[in-house]
């Protein structure tokens, strides 16, 4: 396999931005290393990366902390509420024991709810993004590399998929699809198991969200397929599958990574919107979306409870977006914003 990532870039001693002067050792840097350097210099992207990593750690640790009993997102603490069912005490009942306060009506610990909610929201976004990426990459490569009528058909499939507004489909399909998941696929859905709705949200987001990736990948493949190493592979008689997935695919990791990073925030937002329309994973299982939705009834009486999940969603969406932009700028310096 030939990867252009191994070609050596020499810093020009006269005009090179690396500042290598004549006499000094000439440093050779791979495009990867140059990209890493560009990325590290970009403060905003680095901050975003840190925030995203914190979110991922939080998401990964929440189930463990809940299992161990450190976080308790399900116990009712109604003794902490006043006669209106809202947390007693200022700022949504913030205390040492409940640093984010307690939720109205049930009095469950807000910190535990949102922390565990991050876990569910991010896993929904992650699984949906993986589905969308796989579909988008496979169709993009096949479309770009084959050309001709295959390309035309895939192009029309993309047009068709784009004709279904995602939010609308998520809402409209829910009755039939949930019945299908529970009754035909026999996914256990009784007693508040979040699984059927999880499968539903992930499925619809994935099946309707792959189009941009497919278009992006197709565009890249159109240039890659004229490269020497692809011609060489074709000449030595490599199978089509081998050319697609062993020769072309490894050269696409940069655009795939960028589109994955930009897909995550879109899906976190979509999950929240779905929770508002009651088709996402439902309480008692927390997601950032359904905690925020629950807080809407208390916007005027308990602003803290509303602001916390809203800001947590906004923060992760902003940071994933900035990270995606940063990665794109670092990996493809010509793209310029």
């Amino acid at each position: 396999m030939t990867t252009p990532g191994t070609q050596v870039e020499l810093a020009n001693p006269h005009t090179g931005e690396e500042g290598a002067t004549v006499g000094k050792e000439v440093v050779s840097k791979s495009p990867m290393r140059l990209a890493m350097e560009r990325f590290r210099k970009d403060t905003l992207s680095m901050i975003s990366l840190v925030v995203v990593v914190v979110y991922i750690i939080a998401a990964a640790s929440a189930p463990i902390l809940v299992a161990v009993g450190v976080l308790d997102p399900f116990t009712y603490n109604q003794d902490l509420l006043n006669e209106y069912g809202v947390a007693a005490g200022p700022y949504g009942g913030i205390s040492a024991e409940h640093p984010f306060g307690v939720e109205p009506r049930a009095g469950r610990d807000s910190l535990a709810r949102v922390w565990y909610g991050i876990s569910f929201s991010l896993s929904i976004a992650l699984v949906a993004a993986l589905i969308a990426i796989v579909i988008g990459v496979v169709l993009g490569i096949v479309s770009g590399a084959s050309g001709g009528w295959v390309d035309a058909i895939i192009g029309r499939i993309i047009d068709l998929t784009l004709a279904f507004p995602q939010t609308l489909m998520l809402l409209a399909l829910s009755s039939v699809a949930l019945a299908f998941i529970i009754e035909v696929l026999h996914v256990p859905g009784s007693e508040g198991s979040p699984l059927p709705r999880f499968i539903y949200v992930v499925g619809v987001l994935g099946l309707f969200g792959w189009t941009t990736t497919a278009r992006l990948v197709r565009g890249q493949v159109l240039t890659l397929r004229e490269r020497e190493f692809v011609h060489a592979a074709n000449l030595v008689g490599a199978s089509r599958m081998r050319v697609y997935f062993k020769e072309i695919l490894p050269n696409l990791w940069a655009p795939i990574l960028v589109s994955f990073t930009l897909m995550m925030p879109a899906f976190v937002s979509a999950e929240a919107a779905m929770a508002y329309l009651n088709v996402s994973v439902a309480p008692p299982t927390p997601t950032l979306g359904n905690v925020l939705t629950d807080s809407l009834s208390f916007v005027s009486s308990n602003l803290t409870y509303f602001i916390i999940p809203a800001v947590l969603i906004a923060l992760v969406v902003v940071c994933f977006n900035l990270l995606g932009d940063g990665l794109r700028d670092a990996l493809d310096p010509k793209s310029g914003r």
Binding site: F180, E183, A273, Y276, A310
Partner: protein, 338 residues
């Protein structure tokens, strides 16, 4: 040019047929019995059979699809079963072309329901469109001419942050604080122009349209900024500056023009797919437009209405795509139509 338009339209018709086929497959090809939703709760087995026959759900889904296409083209009579029509001729409802379906739960054609809801969503969409276009272009230009400065970062960052908050959270906040608590604007309630005049119509649309516009603003700011920046470094801008034009003229008449074609494309497509965003906005402000109709239909699992709305939305997108492509070829002579 005309050959191009005709060809695009033919492809559009094929896409609409494929769209209805896929929608039918999604809703009716699964083993889940659609009649049970259409019949409502507390429905006996016989009633369910009657409903199934009345709506044609007993036929294979390809036949249902063909029937639906026929309804779109020439209209249909409900119930679909000839025996039921013969038994109760006074209860036959004619659904004129383009027939989007018949809601058994509401005993109305989907066309009637859509006709009631469409003006509300259209009003919302138009006001929102004007807001985000003006806002997007002005802020985009502002950011571009101050590239790299605090203003630039503030505009781009600010719109990104607004975009990042879920739109229903923004909507509820606007409703609860701006309208209810602070009383800056009256509580939004949809008023027709015929009832309250232009101002009443507009002022009631202010908050819902703003919510919808904020959802799209960030994208338009970024795009305008990118294209204006690109064209600001072109030679013809330098020429325009050198010959002493006012900077306002340079920016609005010369630099902005480069951003016009992508803006038209993006606007056309976003406007067509607005329905998705309108669902949330309409639900928060209880505006009984198409979005609310979808929410209600979903709550009662009224598949006929849902299918009708999905197809309507899809057709709008497909038609908008064609219009945009043709406009594109018209605005930009470099686009090859062959």
């Amino acid at each position: 040019m005309w050959a191009y338009v005709v060809r695009r339209c033919l492809v559009g018709v094929a896409l609409i047929m494929a769209l209805t086929l896929i929608t039918f497959a999604l809703f009716f090809a699964s083993p889940v019995d659609p009649a049970r939703f259409a019949c409502g709760k507390n429905c006996s087995a016989e009633q369910r059979d009657v409903t199934r026959a009345a709506l044609g759900y007993d036929k294979p889904f390809v036949v249902q699809w063909a029937g639906y296409l026929k309804g779109l083209a020439v209209g249909r009579d409900f119930p679909l079963d000839a025996e039921q029509r013969a038994a109760a001729p006074d209860q036959v409802t004619h659904c004129a072309a383009p027939c989007l379906g018949y809601s058994h739960l509401d005993s109305k054609t989907v066309n009637e329901m859509v006709a009631d809801a469409l003006p509300i969503t259209a009003s919302l969409a138009i006001v929102a469109l004007v807001m985000w276009l003006i806002g997007g272009v002005l802020f985009g230009i502002l950011a571009a001419i101050h590239q790299g400065s605090l203003i630039d970062r503030g505009v781009v960052g600010g719109t990104l942050v607004i975009y990042a908050f879920p739109s229903f959270a923004i909507a509820v906040f606007l409703l609860q604080y701006v309208a209810v608590k602070w009383g800056i604007v009256p509580l939004p309630r949809y008023t027709e122009i015929a009832d309250g005049g232009l101002w009443a119509w507009f002022s009631n649309l202010l908050l819902p349209a703003l919510t919808l516009a904020l959802l799209y603003l960030a994208g338009y700011v970024r795009m305008t900024r990118a294209f204006v920046l690109e064209s600001l470094s072109e030679d013809y801008i330098r020429t325009a500056k050198a010959k002493g034009l006012k900077s306002r003229t340079v920016v609005f008449k010369h630099a902005l023009r480069a951003a016009l074609t992508p803006l038209v494309t993006m606007t056309g497509l976003d406007f067509a797919s607005l329905l998705g965003g309108a669902i949330i906005t309409e639900r928060v402000f209880t505006y009984h437009g198409l979005g609310m109709l979808t929410v209600d239909a979903n709550n009662s699992s009224d598949l006929a209405v849902l299918v009708g709305i999905v197809l309507l939305a899809g057709m709008i997108v497909i038609i908008a795509n064609i219009v945009v492509d043709v406009l594109y070829a018209y605005i930009d002579p470099r686009v090859k139509v062959a």
